[in-house]
Amino acid sequence: MRTMNRTDSVITVQDLTLAYGDIVIQKALNFEVRRGDIFVIMGGSGCGKSTLLMHLIGLQKPLHGDIFYGKERLWGVSSEQREQLLRKVGVLFQSGALLSSMTLAENIALPLAEFTALSKKEIDQTVSYKLALVGLAGFEGYYPSEISGGMQKRAGLARAMALDPEILYFDEPSAGLDPISAQLLDELIQSLRDSLGATIIMVTHELASIFAIGTHSIFLDSEAKTAIAFGSPDQLLKTSQDPRVLNFLTRGHPERAGQGVRHE
């Protein structure tokens, strides 16, 4: 576990317990995310990754523990203060969660119109630019129901980055994408980090992208109900002794750990 040093961390999680009602999903989570990290949340299906994300973005209240943005607490403050903290956050939900009664352009324009002083024309340009970044140029007038699941994912991504947020949360951004699109997405995420200095926290199962772009990671386990590994994915693969982690990182073939499971 990395040392707790709240000064240079963007997000600090302290002793967090996640629960639905009284069913505990994860407990005793401690980690921090530093500026410029591409922080990967890994773990088997159903172990609570999306739930952790919901807590990080203030949609669910933790049963126990606290989350800090910089030095500011997320919980235990007024909802206005929380909203203020979350102003610098963009989120891509696992299901995309686009507003189905609006076109893609309207979806992306929504935060722009509300939180910037851009003119109508500038907003239109920004919308087209963001859609082009995710490979959806020309789909401005489509409704979410008129595009495929993978396209909805990408449109959700465009909306998440509409305001050029400092912190981006992605829940399985590459699920449902073909290998080429997934590769482009990795490049996009990396350049978001490099050009805007954004910090990225993503849930993903995509081993290729975990190894290609992940700088730090946390591994949640549903049996232990807590995080059982921390560190950069490469390093985890080399040094981890835990069969659960190795199995995950090698698609169930830990014996191949040494021989470049990294799919280029």
Partner: protein, 352 residues
């Protein structure tokens, strides 16, 4: 295991019963023909039984596919904490639980009304976050498109009022006063009430279904993360639309009801049109109209509140959306009738 056609779990019981600790069960399927999932289920059952009694099972005799399936089905251990018990609960517990849910319902409703009121204040001070276009869309959906049904219902209600009244008034030879009855009845009561009930069924249910679906798709969560609150962004345009549209619909319903009454008066009771119009204009005062219009706006608020509340509260499944729409209509109608009684009582006390 040769006669696979008739095999099921029970047939294996005698096989395992006879085994003692330390013995091994060996499976041989050389004469097995076609098999399906039922055989697998039976095998898994046998293996679990043997496992419990520490009897080893030799699966090497199984065909390759079968062994692989067996292995797969046991690879990820069952999550014992994930099994939901369908526990039988005593009636007292269930009663307590429903009482608690009614109490919680009231609590959340109060909270929701508070949030909506805050949004109203935000609207007045110009800080409410919503898209004006949504207001127009809602006005369009609630207003003009409701006209046909409002026309039909209020025309018929006017007709019914006229008939019911005229039959009684005819006993005194006072059929002419049916004009008073219809016009007063429509403007003060029935116009607003019928419009509200129609709108509860049309718009209240629609609001609940829209917001319920948005809840299912996490759209409301996405809005919250983007800094929009449901009460500003979703409830406010709907509530405003109904507040604005309802008085017009109510007025229109009044007119249609009076026309319905007029049709009955002229064609069944031989009252001249001029006389009907004269009695109507003498009996209805501006106050009556205003009371009707005030009620319309009030009902509009109640319908929007009930519809949006049920929508936001909605669970995350298709059937929950259906339930939300149903309970939105029920809740609005209860609200409407209760509010109507209260307003009528107050008007009576105030003598207006």
């Amino acid at each position: 295991m040769s006669n696979a056609a008739a095999l099921n779990g029970e047939d294996f019981n005698p096989m395992t019963e006879g085994l003692r600790d330390g013995q091994r069960l060996s499976l041989d399927v050389t004469r097995l023909g076609v098999w399906d999932s039922y055989l697998m289920i039976a095998l898994i059952d046998v293996m679990r039984r043997c496992h419990d009694r520490h009897i080893g099972v030799d699966t090497s005799g199984l065909p390759k596919g079968m062994a692989a399936l067996l292995e797969l089905s046991s690879r990820v251990p069952e999550r014992t904490d994930a099994i939901k018990g369908v526990a039988h609960r005593a009636w007292l517990e269930r009663l307590g639980e429903s009482a608690r849910s009614v109490w919680l319902d009231g609590f959340f409703l109060t909270q929701f009304i508070g949030e909506s009121a805050t949004s109203m204040v935000a609207l007045i001070t110009g800080r409410a976050r919503f898209r004006p276009i949504d207001l127009w869309l809602q006005i369009q959906a609630c207003g003009p498109s409701a006209l046909p049904i409002v026309t039909l219902i209020s025309l018929l209600v006017g007709l019914i009022l006229a008939f019911v009244g005229a039959v009684q008034l005819a006993l005194f030879g006072a059929e002419l006063y049916m004009a008073d009855l219809v016009s007063l009845g429509m403007t003060r009561e029935m116009g607003a009430l019928m419009t509200a009930i129609i709108m509860a069924g049309r718009s209240g249910a629609a609001f609940a279904a829209q917001m319920g679906t948005m809840n299912v798709n996490l759209e409301i969560s996405a809005l919250r993360v983007m800094g929009f609150t449901a009460s500003d962004f979703l409830v406010l345009p709907r509530m405003l639309a109904l507040i604005l549209v309802m008085p017009f619909l109510g007025l229109y319903a009044d007119l249609m009801g009076i026309i319905g009454g007029g049709i009955v008066a002229i064609s069944f009771f031989d009252i001249p049109l001029t006389q009907f119009i004269q009695r109507t204009s003498e009996s209805v005062h501006l106050t009556d109209f205003f009371i009707g219009l005030f009620k319309c706006s009030l009902f509009g608020v109640l319908i929007a509140l009930a519809g949006c509340f049920r929508g936001i509260q909605c669970g995350r499944s298709a059937s929950a959306v259906g339930e939300a729409a149903t309970s939105a209509v029920v809740t609005s109608i209860v609200f409407i009738v209760v509010a109507d009684s209260v307003v009528t009582l107050i008007c009576h006390r105030l003598g207006i």
